[in-house]
């Protein structure tokens, strides 16, 4: 046997070495991110949602008017308070910049990006404040629903047998009650308002999560690593929540992205019907209702909340679609 040393080898250069970038092994989540950002739609969705979130939290700060402040000015001639009712959108500094003739009305120096409503409140502030309320309701309820639904689904799927069938019968019954009926019965027990919306969403939205968590559990619990965990004496609790739960995160996040628009939609719907957000608080839904009530006199008032609602729907749906495809890639997408 000859002993080879380094000198016996010659580096031929990198010209013949081809790395398989397509099928190279890469961390799971990095792949997901890469596929997610490769799709134009999902990036657009992400940008829309982020812009709306930023505006919802910082938009009201850009205006000197609070969401419930009524703008009024003292008329120098008569000394009466004049309220800025139903003003069209106006931006004085932009008008000045464009060399437009200055409006000589009483509110010429005030900026109202979206105009004002019938009571003289700034619609820019109200729209973003309403978006903030709607988003917060959606995030909070969906977060709690994820916890409830995941726990329920994972436990049901893990134990199987009698436990599973009892738990699934319960889900079946809960799933057969239309959301509307739940809301109407809740309206008997609870005062109308934000609480009613949150509870209604809590009761209905966890079911979808639990179904997905259960399906994932049924798939995962057959895998060797779960068997290995059990053989080594891991408790049921630690198998369910430490070993299996992290692997169900993907589908659950996708479901969250589809549940958030549902929650926003439901909130808007309930507020519109008059059992949701109460004045002077506002949300996207109650703003649409306000706009509708004044549609013959101030038709533009309904436009901003509708656009915000539609963009939120669009954004979250795009993100959801993108995530779903990114998490379960087909071969021809790679």
């Amino acid at each position: 046997m000859t002993n080879y040393t380094e000198k016996d080898f010659v580096l031929l250069g990198e010209r013949d070495i081809q790395t398989d970038t397509n099928f190279a092994s890469q961390p799971y989540w990095r792949g997901v991110f890469k596929r997610f950002f490769a799709k134009k739609r999902s990036v657009v969705g992400l940008i829309i949602v982020l812009v709306i979130i930023v505006l919802a939290f910082f938009g009201p700060l850009l205006s000197q008017n609070g969401y419930r402040d009524i703008t009024s000015v003292k008329d120098p001639e008569t000394g009466k308070e004049i309220v800025a009712r139903g003003l069209d959108p106006q931006i004085p500094w932009l008008d000045k910049l464009l060399g437009k003739e200055a409006d000589d009305g009483l509110f010429a120096d005030k900026t109202f990006l979206f105009g004002t409503d019938d009571l003289g409140r700034d619609l820019w502030t109200r729209t973003w404040y309403g978006a903030r309320v709607s988003l917060l309701i959606a995030f909070v309820t969906i977060f709690i629903d994820v916890i409830i639904g995941m726990t329920y689904g994972l436990v049901s799927g893990y134990f199987g047998g009698a436990v599973d069938s009892v738990m699934q019968r319960f889900v079946e019954i809960a799933n057969s009650v239309p959301r509307l009926v739940i809301v109407s019965v809740l309206a008997i027990f609870m005062p109308k308002g934000i609480g009613l919306v949150i509870v209604a969403l809590l009761i209905t939205e966890w079911i979808g999560m639990s179904k997905i968590a259960r399906a994932e559990m049924l798939k995962i619990k057959e895998m060797e690593y779960v068997l290995a965990g059990r053989t080594l004496g891991a408790s049921n609790f630690s198998i369910i929540f430490k070993d299996v739960l992290p692997n169900t995160v993907g589908p659950i996040i996708t479901q969250v992205m589809f549940s958030i628009p549902t929650a926003i939609f439901t909130e808007a719907f309930l507020s519109f019907v008059g059992v949701g957000i109460m004045l002077p608080e506002c949300s996207v839904g109650s703003l649409i209702e306000d706009g509708f009530n004044n549609i013959t006199t101030l038709p533009y008032q309904i436009v901003p909340p509708i656009i915000v609602l539609a963009l939120l729907m669009l954004g979250f749906n795009f993100i959801g679609d993108g995530l779903r495809e990114a998490l379960a890639p087909k071969l021809d997408d790679m």
């Binding site: 239309p178 109407s184 509708i306 749906n317």
Partner: protein, 315 residues
């Protein structure tokens, strides 16, 4: 198959019974008093409670209530319509809702199917883009927003159509609500049909049919359409249910005397009408469960694989 149908119907009936019982109990145990305590003496209230059977066991009360419900009698409203019998009000409202909802679902399904098929046949061309725009719009914008838009433009700006529902001008006044309600159905069906069609057109058996010399409309109707339409049945069920919910606001805005408006009136007014809430709750649940049942059965008929796999328990 018989066993499957029987089992499915049985579970539906039992589920509905359980839900009805829960609703009944919840409405009965709610705090408060149905009698005006300032105008009635304690004895009179006690006598009235006895007369109405409110002191009985909850199961006895439920049994009595169900006996009446079976006859179509839901009792009287507590605050709506001066306590008129619910049965007559409900009957009229149901008829109105069904007419408009029925038109909406037919319109939505038909246009959606056509749009989906056309889009799939003209992949990546104008119609395909149009189809995706419609489906995105339908998902992002609630039905009532469309209604407001249509109402403002076609009934207020130009008075082509009535501003509110008018039963004397039934045809004209159904256009706005049913078109706006059908949009969500339309968009979902269009997108779903298109994706199904595209998937099937790329499948091996269509390739085989093509290589045997089949082409054109024969190929599409025989092999593609038939297989693409089966799964569409499954999306119809949740759509009909969404329509029930969507109808609520649409009926409220457009002044249609339907079950949705009845529900809004029952819960959003000053006093909540418990008997209406209960009656409508049972009705909505029955509709919901009934639709699910029908779709399951139809799907079982269309696709034998469902029947077989349902024996194994989980679908």
């Amino acid at each position: 198959m018989k066993k499957y149908v029987f089992k499915r119907i049985l579970t539906a009936v039992i589920t509905l019974l359980i839900i009805t019982f829960l609703l009944f109990t919840l409405v009965r145990i709610m705090p408060g008093n149905p009698f005006p305590s300032e105008r009635m003496t304690d004895e009179a209230i006690a006598a009235k409670r006895e007369e109405m059977g409110l002191n009985d066991n909850i199961f006895v009360q439920f049994w009595n209530y169900m006996k009446n419900v079976m006859k179509g009698d839901f009792g009287k409203g507590t605050s709506l319509y001066n306590g008129a019998p619910i049965k007559t009000v409900l009957g009229k409202s149901l008829a109105n809702s069904f007419k408009i909802g029925g038109i909406a679902i037919l319109l939505g399904t038909f246009v959606g199917l056509v749009l989906g098929v056309v889009a799939a046949l003209n992949r990546d061309k104008f119609m395909d883009v149009f189809c995706s725009v419609v489906s995105i719009l339908g998902v992002c914008v609630p039905a009532y927003v469309f209604l407001i838009f249509l109402q403002y433009n076609f009934a207020y700006k130009t008075t082509l159509l009535p501003y509110f529902f008018d039963s004397r001008r039934f045809f004209e006044s159904t256009i706005i609500p049913s078109v706006s309600m059908s949009l969500f159905t339309m968009s979902t069906i269009a997108r779903f049909t298109r994706n199904e069609m595209v998937e099937i057109m790329d499948s091996d058996y269509v390739l085989l049919a093509e290589s045997k010399g089949m082409y054109g409309s024969k190929l599409i109707t025989r092999h593609v359409l038939r297989n693409a339409l089966i799964p569409v049945v499954t999306v119809l069920a949740p759509l009909v249910v969404d329509l029930l919910t969507g109808a609520l606001v649409v009926e409220k805005i457009y002044g249609i005397q339907g079950i949705g408006k009845l529900m809004v009136d029952a819960i959003s007014g000053e006093g909540i009408d418990y008997n209406y809430v209960l009656a409508l709750g049972i009705l909505y649940s029955a509709l919901y469960i009934g639709i699910m049942l029908i779709v399951d059965l139809v799907y079982g008929l269309l696709d034998p694989r469902i029947r077989i796999s349902s024996k194994g328990g989980d679908k």
